[in-house]
Each structure stands twice: as structure tokens, then as C-alpha cells.
């Protein structure tokens, strides 16, 4: 025992010297999904280190973690660097802040533990929880598209017949309308319509009207339950946006009742990311005045808190989804990795 203590003492004195740690965070996390911060540990000493544990000392943010990210390296050789993965599961959306790191080593016998601290502040956005929507929801989205057609009535595409025109140099031979050419004697080519993606404008309705309607539907509802409903509504909106983006829709977002920027219809990944970040950063306490109409847009999809609202919107041929019937829209299947680009990483937190 005494020998083991001496060995532990010597090891504790010699280990974790000239070791540096760098935290590598992904671009974002998703509430309820695994978030994998990585730690690059560089051992510049001449001694190898066994059983190296790296973890966060604490996180100071509104996002709750069930456990602090903890990574493990079995052996780190001298003058070598390794990457330790430390999965964690954020339970809420918002900004997740990291302050300081701890690396520890209790090898060989676990009698003594050497600990080293590293100050390194980082931040990451945790998106709202993304549901995997039922396929019918996406189908419904396309049907309620007010534009009605998937094609723009404009030449230059390859979709459907638009008209005829005279041949210009460079036109494809395949587009020559031989029948008309024979008839007229001049070269005539067909013009085709351009494809036009469907578009979805999602409006998240968290206005007082909705809240009051919700309270009138369920008088016993507590503030906690109401907040949970709001969070579910945010998640549902985020899910619709992700799903619509994946299906090639132009997406836009507006929120009523809470201060949030309005995003016009557009189809790009940065645009989708901006919307998701806006949803992640929504402050439920930062409400707007009832007279504020800046967020009122021509939304095609409305996310509401009550069951009564959909009826109101049926007449206007809009799709209204209520969180009260959330289970109808989602499936049990997990969110696939391809849904969101989780593989991107950036050193030092949010890009």
C-alpha cells in the first residue's frame, strides 16, 4: 500500500505538466439531441499519461445539461495530441456557455488525483428540439401553397411547354420544333417554363390572443404548462422549417406576440440557420404590444397553441398546426443526421 502511495505521489507530481487543452465546439446543438464537444489535448511533456479525463467545470447559461460534458483518453503519449469526445444532452434551446475546463488523472491506482484547470470561454447555440414530421404534413404544405403551381410562367427552363420562338445560335438541337420548322421554313425552337420551388411562410403565433384562448380552453393550465406549450410550438415551427428546407421549399418565418425578426421567403442554408438561431434565441418574456402588426405576414403555415385556431384559418386556406395535437404531426422515427448539418465544427464556439 505504501509502495502504491509512493508511486501515485510520483505520478501525480509528474503528470499533467505541459499539457494544453483546446475546446472544439460544433456549430450548434439541438435540444434533446446529443451534442458532442471535442477537446484537443496536447501532451508536450516526455511522459505518457494514462486515464486522462477532461470535463467542464461548470456551465453558466439558461440551457440545462443533464451532465457536464466529460471526455476520456485512455493513453496520451509524449509529444502527441489526441481528440476526446464528450457527448452531452442539452435539454433546452438557447445559448450554452462554457467557462473553464478541468483535466484530471488518477492513474495508476486511483489513490491520488492530479487536476489542472484551463480558462476558456465559449458559447454555442442550441436549436429547439426538432421533431420528425409526418410526411402528410409536408404534403399538406405543398397543397396550401397559394401560388398553386410549382413552375414559374417564364421561359428559360426545362419543365413544361411555354411557347415557340425563332432559333438562336447556341440553342439545343433537341429543342428545335421540327414540325413548325418544316411548316414555316425557318428554324423554330420550343421554349420551356422554369421550375419554381414551393414556398412556406411559417408564422408562430404566441400572441396574447392565443394565450388567452388557450387559458379559456383549459382554465387549470399552469404557467409551467403554458411555457411548455410555447416551447413545443417553437420546436414545431423549427421542425416545419427544417422539413420544408429539406424538401426544397423557400422558407420564411414570422412570430407574433414575441419580439423576433421576420424572415422573408428564401431558400438557402444560411437563411434556414438564421431562422433556427432566431427560434433558439426567442425570449418568451420579451413580448410585443397587441397593436404591433409588424409581424403580420401572408403566412401559409400557422403554429398555434390552441385547437380552436385551425378552424379560423381553414377558411383562408392556410394550414394551422396546433401543439395540442402535436402527436398527429410527428413520427417516432429519429431525426436523421442529414436533416441538419451537425458535422460542421468551428473552433471557439459559434461561427
Amino acid at each position: 500500500m505504501f509502495g502504491a502511495f509512493v508511486v501515485s505521489l510520483i505520478t501525480a507530481m509528474l503528470s499533467l505538466r505541459n499539457v494544453t487543452v483546446t475546446r472544439l465546439l460544433p456549430m450548434h446543438g439541438i435540444a434533446g439531441e446529443q451534442l458532442v464537444p471535442r477537446y484537443r489535448i496536447h501532451n508536450r511533456s516526455k511522459l505518457g499519461i494514462f486515464n486522462l479525463v477532461v470535463s467542464e467545470e461548470s456551465t453558466e447559461s439558461e440551457v440545462k445539461l443533464n451532465m457536464l460534458p466529460t471526455g476520456w483518453i485512455l493513453f496520451l503519449g509524449p509529444n502527441q495530441a489526441l481528440m476526446a469526445e464528450a457527448p452531452c444532452w442539452p435539454s433546452e434551446r438557447g445559448k450554452l456557455s462554457f467557462n473553464s475546463l478541468i483535466i484530471s488523472c488518477s492513474f495508476p491506482f486511483g489513490i491520488l488525483k492530479k487536476v489542472a484547470f484551463f480558462e476558456q470561454e465559449d458559447e454555442i447555440i442550441v436549436y429547439p428540439h426538432i421533431y420528425r414530421l409526418n410526411r402528410r404534413v409536408v404534403g399538406t404544405l405543398s397543397r396550401v401553397n397559394p401560388e398553386g403551381s410549382n413552375n414559374i410562367e417564364r421561359s428559360g427552363g426545362t419543365e413544361e411547354f411555354f411557347g415557340l420562338r425563332e432559333y438562336h445560335t447556341g440553342d439545343s438541337i433537341r429543342l428545335i420544333n421540327w414540325k413548325q420548322t418544316a411548316r414555316t421554313g425557318d428554324m423554330v425552337v420550343k421554349e420551356m417554363t422554369q421550375p419554381s420551388p414551393p414556398q412556406t411562410m411559417v408564422q408562430l403565433d404566441l400572441s396574447d390572443l392565443q394565450i388567452n384562448a388557450c387559458k379559456s380552453e383549459n382554465p387549470d393550465i399552469s404557467e409551467e404548462q403554458l411555457t411548455k406549450l410555447k416551447e413545443e410550438a417553437i420546436s414545431l415551427a423549427a421542425s416545419i422549417i427544417c422539413d420544408a428546407y429539406m424538401h426544397g421549399y423557400k422558407i420564411g418565418f414570422a412570430c407574433s406576440g414575441i419580439n423576433a425578426p421576420t424572415y422573408q421567403l428564401h431558400h438557402s442554408r444560411p437563411h434556414r440557420t438564421n431562422i433556427l438561431e432566431a427560434l433558439a434565441s426567442l425570449d418568451l418574456h420579451d413580448t410585443t404590444s397587441p397593436d404591433d402588426t409588424s409581424s403580420q405576414t401572408e403566412a401559409t403555415v400557422l403554429v398555434t397553441l390552441t385547437n380552436t385556431s385551425p378552424k379560423l384559418y381553414q377558411a383562408s386556406n392556410k394550414l394551422a398546426l396546433s401543439v395540442q395535437t402535436l402527436s398527429q404531426y410527428i413520427t417516432d422515427a429519429p431525426v436523421e443526421d442529414v436533416l441538419l448539418d451537425t458535422t460542421e465544427e468551428v473552433i471557439g464556439g459559434v461561427a
Binding site: F2, G3, A4, V6, V7, I10, G32, E33, Q34, G48, F50, N51, V53, L65, N66, M67, T70, W72, I73, L74, F75, L76, G77, Q80, L82, M83, A84, E85, P87, C88, W89, S106, F107, P108, F109, G110
Partner: protein, 768 residues
């Protein structure tokens, strides 16, 4: 590295070595076989291709059975508690090997195994167990280290499972490792083991067992299967104490005038008990009360006692006896002993009549003593007892003497009478000596033919009687006929005790003083260690007969059959056994018997090495060397001393230069990323590619450092693309670097000249 898989293998090895070591310590091969089979099967059952642990209810039920077995072992079979607990832990460990195992079960297994080894350490002193213990310690150390890694992994896994939304999807943490983990783990284990072992050795040397501890007897008390063979009485109703066991009990080395005279051709009879009285009823040879009265105790001052003075021109023999088991109170000696030395014995009892010596006071672990004796039988010289011993002979309690013929000294009748069928035995003895033309009257105290008579009877027994180890049957034990008479007149075969008894009966019937001796016959000589190995099967009985006032040793057992009985195995197996026993003996002397006295001796011997001899004692070795060195210095001329010092300094400088050069070469090799190559190749390439380091340093100095992801050629191309004329030399030098490093080209004169000129050009270009 698959920590869990490695750990499972290690813990299995640890447990199996532990249980096997216990069986070896207990000297139970049958248990070893059973446990090896059951334990080996457990791996196949639990870890095999379709392996599955047994359900817990079965394990719990079996544990209850094992608990019952423990009670049986202690209370019914009367096994020693420590041994029974050892059996209990063995079965518990085997059950745990079959059971589903979490970290709790693994920890239980390890603790049980370690406890069992501690228990086994108290019941065995053999070297085999020592080796097993050393192996066990190494495996255990490795297991503990890997267990620590596994615990961290499991703890992390469990916390992740608790935190995850869907615990089933959480994967076990993968042990991320750098290259060479196995090597580092082995090195760490070796280093940890060395430190722990060094501390253990230091503690062992510095704080040895106290002399009061009774460890050796304690060890021996567990090994009840080992029969000593020797007995201080002879019971003729019983089978002879000829053990089939080959366990060594004593090592004996014999010197004459300081020279080891042991050889495999020479056998010695070492006396243990001297028996002069035969009890007709119990049919036992015992030591008579008459002779017991003359026991006198002596203190061993300065670890020795001299009992007698040697006469001039008398050769002295010295024997050293080392016990390898429990020491009986009788001290094994030779006839005509006159001195005994021992550090462990404080007080002895010696009897000048039968020359039997016993230990009265001393360590229970009398492991070693030596004594001196003289072979007065052949030299016709001898010794004279010291005054103190003489006084004993004069103080005879004549008032309590038995009823003996008048005017006869009792000492003359000592070991002379025979009362069982005296006439028949006398007639037989007379017939034996009559054949040789000898005769003797039974009442005569001595005659000139006594030696011839003794030899004639010995020859008769050896010729007409057969040696047999077959003991008396139950009917024989209850027979009214005395075993000695049955041996002499009916069976005419028997073991050494019957031969000795029969010989004593025949000689005593003729009026010759004869006594029976029990002890050992030492005939197996270990050439490697220079000592005789005495085993339990070497226990023997013989006679001493008094002729011309001198006790002569006579062994009437047929020598050929006796030699066959004590035959030593030869060939490779015999040599290996000899080698093993030698190491075992060394182990016993240096490790097992290391006590406070040994420690003091060790320290004093170290001190003696540096002793200056001021107190009149002999100067120590190191002190003498130092004096000799000083004398040498004064003897030589100062010029020579200065030259010598210069030579030493030059040699020192050369050594320092060599080491510096080596360090520099290694540094260069590291800079050139040659560390993975063999050492000789590293040296060669580091020497040839030194120019490339110069090139890199030159470029770095001017703000062009190569990125870690760039190959040398990419870097050269990059520079050349920037300014072809300015960095043309870089490309050429890099090409030469490639030729030497990867193309196996030498740095010959032409390349060397190119390198020198290009480096010069580059330096000139960069500075301009």
C-alpha cells in the same frame, strides 16, 4: 486497446494463478487438478463463442453449499481454520467466475484472491510458492491498473446513459489512445512494480520478523501431510516411520579441517535419539531413566559451547545442519561431538553417556547450527571431556540405582541386559559367533573378540535376513510373540528398526553393551550446493556397540537393499531436482529465515566491510582497499600520479564528448523525424542529413518556415514558385535530401560538394 476484454483475461489469470498457488502451498495436487479443470471450464462457459454466465439463483444456491462445506471442513474434518478458509475462498472465486459479473463482482473476485494469497503465504515457505507469488503480484498489479481504466470507462458510460434521452443509443466510450500504449503500460507497470517491490524489500530487510514469532513451526503445522520420518522412540507394533514422501527435511554439509568432504559416494548417519531400553509390554525402544539423570544443561556463550578438548593429532569434522521444516527438540549430531555453534540456540542439554543433545532454550525456529566431532573410532585417538562434563560423570545418583549385581557399576550394565526369551536369543547369537570360531561369556564386561563378534552378527543379519518395509499387520500387533523374536526366528525380514532391534537383542544376549539409534542416513549429495539432502524417507535406525570402552556405530541393515531404498534419481530429472532444491535451499536461508538476528548480522557484516580495525578486530574489505589505494599513491612517484590523473581526465572528457555527441545525434534524428528507424540507421542518416537541418534553420531565420502539413518538396516547390532564381538551391538541396533519406543514396563527395556550394549560394542570396 479493448480495456474490458483485456481486464477479463487478466482477472481470470489472476484468480487462476491465485488458486493454483494456494493448492501448491497446501501441497494438494488433487485439489489443483480439480480447480484447474473447473476454473478452465469457467472461461469456456462464460467467455466462449456461445458463452453465457450461469443464472444468479444457481450461484447463490452453490454459495450456500460452499458455506456448508466450510462448516464441515472446520468442524467435521478438523481442517485448520486458515486452510479451510482458503478452500472456501477458492470455491467462492470459482463460483464468481461462473456468475454474471459487474464491477462489484470483479472487485469481490480480486479481494478474495488477494486475501487467499495472503493466507497461502502463511502456510508455505517453498520457493515454488515464492515464484508463484511473484508472478501473481505482477499479474495483480497489471490487473489493478487495467481495472482502474475500466472503472473510469464504466463510470463515464453509466453517467452518459443516465444523462441521455435514449439510454439505449449511448455507446460505450472508446478508449482513445496514442501509438505505443502497450509499451507504455508495460513500462509503467514495471516501474510501479519495481518501486513497490523495492519498498517491500526495504521493509523486509529493515523490519524483519521478530525472533519471538513462531513462523516456521506455524508453517510446518499446516503441512500435516509431511511426515518427518524421524521419531525419538521406536514402536515395533507400528509400521516403520519410513515415509514415501520425498520432502527434504535437513541439509547437511560436512567439512574436515575446513574443507568440504561431502560426496555422493560417502554416506553419514546422523544421530537423533539414543534408545537404550526396550519396553516389553509396549514393545517400544525408549531412552531409559537411568541415563536421563545425567543430562546437564549448558549455556551457549558467544553462540557456542565446547564440551571437550581434542587430543593432539586428532582430525576434527564440522557439520552444518539446516532444517527445512520443524526442528525437533533433539539436535542431530554425530558421535564424539565436542563443540556446537548456533546463533539460535541459547541453552542445550548434553549427556556424556549417550552423547545425546537436546535444545533447552532458544528460538523455536532453529534453522541452522553446526557442530564438531572427531572420528575416534578409526584414529584411535579422541578427546577428553572438559572439566564441567567430567563433573557430571562423577555426580551419579547411586542411591536410585536399580537392583544390579553387587560390586558392579551401574554404568557397566547400561544397555547390556536382554530379558525377552534370553536363552533362545543367546543360543542364536552363540551359534552365529561359533560359525566364525568366536565365543563369549554373557557375564564378561569385555573381551578381545568383541569387535569381531559385533561384525559377525552384523554380517549374519545382512546375509540371512531380508530388508522389507512391510509393517506388522493387525494380528501381528496383537500377537503374544514379541516382534523382535518374530523377526529373528520366524519372519527373518523387516525394516531397519527390526534389524537394529534384532542386532541389539543378539549382542545384549552375549553381554555386549548395545543401544539403538534413530536418526537419518545422509547419502544424497547435492554437488551444486555442496551439501547432503536428507529427506523424510531417509529416516533410519542403527546401533552403537561399546567395544574397548568406545562406542562403535554398526548398521546391520543389508546395505544393498538400503542403498536401493535410498536411491537417488539420476539423469536430467535428477539434475533438475538437484537444481531446484538448491535454489529452494537458498530461498529458505536468505528469505524465509530472515529475522532480527539475520538483519543484525547483515548490518554488522556491512559495517565490518568499512571497519578500520582500530578496536583490534580485522579491518574490513573496503577499508583495506582504501588503505591499499593510499599506500599505492604514496608508493608511486607524484609524476606518475599526475600522469594517471591526466589519463583519467582525458578518459572522462572522452566519455562526456561521446555522450554529448550521442545526445546531439538523437536530437538531429528527432528533428529529421527518424525516430522510428533503427538506432544505427538513425545515426547514419542524422550525420548525412545534417545539411537539411542547416537549410531549414537558414530559411526559418529569414521567415520561411515549413508548415507541419507540408512535405519538404512541397515547401521547396512553394518557395521556388515565389522566386525561382532565389530559391533554386532549396529545391536542389531538398532533392538531395530525398535521394539520401528515401533513395538510399550515400552523401558521397560529389553530393557533398553540391550541398556545400548550394548552401553557400543560398546563404549569399538570402543575405543579399
Amino acid at each position: 486497446m479493448r480495456v474490458r476484454s483485456v481486464y477479463r483475461k487478466l482477472v481470470f489469470a489472476m484468480v487462476m494463478i491465485g488458486v493454483c498457488a494456494f493448492c501448491i502451498a497446501e501441497q494438494s495436487p488433487s485439489l489443483l487438478l480439480i480447480i484447474a479443470i473447473i476454473g478452465g471450464l469457467s472461461w469456456w462457459v462464460t467467455e466462449g463463442p456461445h458463452g453465457k454466465p450461469l443464472p444468479r439463483p444457481i450461484i447463490v444456491a452453490a454459495s450456500a453449499v460452499v458455506m456448508m462445506w466450510l462448516l464441515f471442513d472446520i468442524f467435521i474434518f478438523r481442517t485448520h481454520t486458515l486452510v479451510a478458509m482458503g478452500h472456501f475462498t477458492i470455491w467462492l472465486q470459482l463460483l464468481l467466475l461462473y456468475s454474471p459479473k459487474t464491477n462489484r463482482e470483479y472487485a469481490q473476485l480480486m479481494i478474495l484472491s488477494i486475501l487467499q494469497m495472503i493466507g497461502a503465504s502463511t502456510i508455505s515457505i517453498t520457493m515454488t510458492y515464492g515464484i508463484m507469488l511473484a508472478i501473481y503480484c505482477v499479474i495483480t498489479l497489471f490487473t489493478i491498473l487495467v481495472f482502474h481504466l475500466k472503472l473510469t470507462s464504466d463510470r463515464l458510460y453509466q453517467s452518459r446513459k443516465d444523462a441521455a434521452v435514449d439510454a439505449d443509443k449511448v455507446l460505450r466510450p472508446i478508449g482513445v489512445t496514442s501509438i505505443g500504449m502497450g509499451k507504455h503500460l508495460r513500462r509503467t507497470t514495471l516501474l510501479s512494480g519495481t518501486v513497490c517491490a523495492s519498498i517491500a524489500v526495504f521493509v523486509f530487510m529493515g523490519i524483519p520478523r521478530s525472533p519471538e514469532s513462531n513462523s516456521l513451526n506455524r508453517f510446518a503445522s499446516f503441512s500435516n501431510k509431511v511426515q518427518a520420518g524421524f521419531s525419538d522412540t521406536i514402536n515395533l507394533n507400528r509400521k516403520a516411520p519410513q515415509s514415501s514422501s520425498n520432502t527434504p527435511v535437513i541439509n547437511l554439509s560436512v567439512e574436515k579441517n575446513g574443507k568440504n568432504i561431502g560426496s555422493s559416494d560417502l554416506a553419514w548417519l546422523i544421530r537423533g535419539a539414543v534408545l537404550d531400553r526396550y519396553n516389553i509390554r509396549s514393545r517400544q525402544w525408549v531412552r531409559g531413566n537411568y541415563v536421563r539423570n545425567f543430562d546437564q544443561s549448558f549455556d551457549l556463550e558467544s553462540n557456542q559451547i565446547t564440551l571437550a578438548k581434542l587430543k593432539q593429532n586428532t582430525d576434527a569434522y564440522t557439520a552444518t545442519i539446516t532444517y527445512r521444516g520443524t526442528a525437533p527438540p533433539q539436535l542431530f549430531t554425530m558421535p564424539n561431538i565436542f563443540q556446537i555453534n548456533s546463533k539460535a540456540i541459547d541453552r542445550v542439554a548434553f549427556n556424556p553417556i549417550d552423547q545425546q543433545m537436546r535444545m533447552l532454550n532458544g528460538d523455536d525456529e532453529v534453522m541452522q547450527y553446526s557442530f564438531k566431532w572427531t572420528d575416534s573410532q578409526t584414529k584411535r585417538v579422541g578427546f577428553e571431556y572438559e572439566k564441567q562434563v567430567k563433573e557430571i560423570r562423577e555426580v551419579i545418583d547411586w542411591d536410585n540405582r536399580p537392583n544390579l549385581p553387587n560390586n558392579t557399576s551401574m554404568s557397566n550394565w547400561y544397555a547390556r541386559t536382554w530379558h525377552i526369551a534370553p536363552r533362545e536369543v543367546y543360543l542364536l547369537a552363540q551359534s552365529i559367533i561359533k560359525e566364525k570360531g568366536l565365543k563369549r561369556h554373557r557375564n564378561a564386561l569385555s573381551s578381545s573378540d568383541d569387535l569381531a563378534i559385533a561384525k559377525a552378527i552384523k554380517q549374519y543379519l545382512q546375509t540371512n535376513y531380508q530388508y522389507s518395509l512391510q509393517g506388522p499387520s493387525g494380528e501381528d500387533a496383537e500377537s503374544r510373540v514379541d516382534p523382535i523374536l518374530r523377526f529373528l526366528f520366524n519372519d527373518k525380514k523387516g525394516h531397519c528398526e527390526l534389524f537394529a532391534s534384532g542386532y541389539a537383542a543378539l549382542c545384549r544376549s552375549l553381554g555386549l553393551q548395545t543401544r539403538v539409534i534413530t536418526g537419518y542416513r545422509a547419502g544424497e549429495y547435492n554437488d551444486l550446493g555442496g551439501y547432503y539432502v536428507i529427506r523424510t524417507s531417509d529416516a533410519h535406525a542403527w546401533n552403537e556397540i561399546k567395544i574397548n570402552n568406545t562406542w562403535v556405530t554398526i548398521d546391520s541393515t543389508p546395505p544393498a537393499q538400503l542403498a536401493q531404498q535410498h536411491a537417488v534419481s539420476t539423469g536430467i530429472i535428477g539434475s533438475l531436482q538437484e537444481l531446484y532444491e538448491y535454489f529452494d535451499y537458498v530461498w529458505l536461508r536468505s528469505v524465509v529465515t530472515f529475522d532480527l538476528k539475520s538483519q543484525r548480522n547483515l548490518l554488522s557484516s556491512i559495517r565490518e566491510l568499512f571497519n578500520s580495525g582500530d578496536d583490534g578486530s580485522k579491518p574490513g574489505l573496503f577499508y583495506r582497499i582504501w588503505r591499499q589505494f593510499l599506500n599505492t599513491l604514496t608508493f608511486f612517484n607524484w609524476n606518475y600520479i599526475v600522469i594517471g590523473l591526466c589519463v583519467i581526465v582525458i578518459i572522462g572528457v572522452l566519455i562526456v564528448f561521446f555522450f554529448l555527441h550521442e545526445i546531439q545525434t538523437r536530437r538531429k534524428a528527432a528533428q529529421l523525424h527518424l525516430s522510428s528507424l533503427p538506432r544505427s540507421q538513425q545515426r547514419s542518416l542524422a550525420k548525412q542529413l545534417a545539411f537539411f537541418i542547416t537549410l531549414q534553420q537558414l530559411l526559418t531565420k529569414h521567415g520561411h518556415s515549413r508548415k507541419s502539413w507540408q512535405s519538404p518538396m512541397q515547401f521547396a516547390n512553394q518557395l521556388t514558385a515565389q522566386n525561382p532564381q532565389r530559391y533554386q538551391s532549396v529545391k536542389k538541396l531538398t532533392q538531395i535530401f530525398y535521394d539520401i533519406r528515401y533513395g538510399n543514396r550515400p552523401l558521397d563527395e560529389s553530393r557533398k560538394s553540391i550541398v556545400d556550394s548550394e548552401l553557400e549560394n543560398l546563404q549569399h542570396t538570402l543575405t543579399s
